[in-house]
Symmetry: none
Subunit: 271 residues, 2 copies
């Protein structure tokens, strides 16, 4: 539930975190657009998807930011400095779910695309991962908008089933494909899966905060901060790591390209 | 007819679907702009048209979104949380028809352009498809703005005649040209026609909802959701599939381009 009152500090915390997410997503997308020619064409599909993911997230955070500013007003004149819910404008948590519905399947497309596996293997992986990701988001939504903690818990639990399936595919089925990757790439990709687990793990924690005994406004503020931090890790930081993978693979594939892109000392270290 | 009252849930549903369409169209256009160099120049006309279609749709959905926000206000003070029609601001359904009048003929231009047929064959197809598409939209409009179910049915029926003609051209006359396409392309194009039939089929269903016995507000909400989903399928998803067709045709036309764009394993699989 959205709290009736936010203290000045609580309001500013949410406000600044939302703005931090906008800056992170927008300029990760800008960075990647500019850096796109500096990987081989065969890895550009992954980075193009990463740009789109960060762009979609930036768009939704602009919406969330505006929705938050409209939802709370301060009783500034002679008041306490607290913010109370504005009449006639509610904070729309739905934007997050629209965002995730689009971006979470695309994050898995990014991961599979950067591996540049044979198309049939890519298709087989995505046919499992993408529907599971969409289902995970869709099952979370009824719990999120419900004021009832029982329903929240139930849908949280249901949503965990496709999440567990995604982890199974990534950590069991994908491992076979990783053996064919260059060793530097294998290490980074392994870290990437743990970043995914770590950052995606923040969402259920933030989701379940209202079920704990943290009082209303604090739980809500922690939830907003949690979702914000998780979105930065899962999209912007993740995209930069995917870019690193694409760079290393580009250098491995084409020594002439590596000579152009790297300093002489660095080329010497590589060989 | 636009309902007088929307419940909080009905309002949020329409609101989030409209925002979902904006994000889908806008970032499909962004994706295609970035990905444009990754097909051969001869197929870029089709993708350029696809970018314009998604851009036009995003523009109109910004308009529809703002029109919707202005058309309903909440009676928050001690109220029920319901939204009622604002005095002096109506929801403008006309934006959809302006959008379709521009984009639907262009969707057919996209489809014909990606086939890269002989110019005289392209012209012959478009001389049939484009006027039929425009006529279909124009004939639907009087029924849409009419409050009278008889008029709605009549114009719906009239609008179906050019729709049937378009399907005849795509499924009977186009089939001859498809035989000359590479087999992978033939399969995708065949699927594409069914996506077109499926997604275009949603419009008449949404259009006719007010004629069924679904009560006012629900019918209207379903209609907005139906139009939104159909627009995502018919423009954004359709554009991504057209892009896939252009990629496959590029690789078939130019093996050196395929070697640059695909991983070594994938090139081996193709030959």
């Amino acid at each position: 539930m959205i709290p009736d009152i936010l203290s000045h500090g609580q309001y500013e915390t949410v406000y600044n975190f939302l703005s931090l997410v906008i800056a992170s997503q927008l300029f990760t997308a800008v960075f990647l657009v500019i850096a796109l020619p500096r990987i081989l064409p065969r890895y550009r599909q992954a980075i193009t998807v990463a740009i789109v993911v960060c762009g979609i997230a930036a768009y939704h955070y602009f919406r969330i930011f505006d929705s938050f500013k409209a939802a709370f007003v301060t009783d500034a004149v002679g008041g306490t400095g607290d913010y109370s819910q504005a009449v006639g404008a509610g904070f729309n948590e739905g934007y997050r779910y629209v965002d995730w519905l689009l971006t979470v399947p695309l994050l898995l497309v990014e991961l599979v695309a950067v591996l540049a596996l044979v198309r049939s293997v890519q298709s087989a992986l995505l046919r499992r991962l993408v529907p599971a990701a969409a289902l995970m988001i869709i099952l979370g939504y009824p719990g999120e908008i419900s004021g009832d903690n029982g329903l929240r818990g139930l849908f949280g639990l249901l949503s965990t089933i496709p999440f567990a399936y995604i982890l199974f595919v990534l950590f069991v089925q994908l491992s076979k494909s990783l053996d064919q990757q260059p060793s530097g790439v294998r290490r980074i990709l392994s870290q990437l899966r743990f970043l995914l687990l770590l950052s995606w793990g923040v969402y259920p924690i933030a989701y379940l905060l209202p079920l704990l005994n943290i009082s209303g406004a604090d739980a809500w503020v922690f939830k907003q901060v949690g979702y914000s931090v998780a979105d930065i890790l899962a999209k912007a930081v993740y995209a930069v790591i995917i870019y690193q993978v694409a760079r290393i693979k580009s250098f491995d594939d084409d020594p002439a390209f590596a000579r152009d892109e790297l300093s002489r000392d660095e080329v010497a270290t590589r060989s």
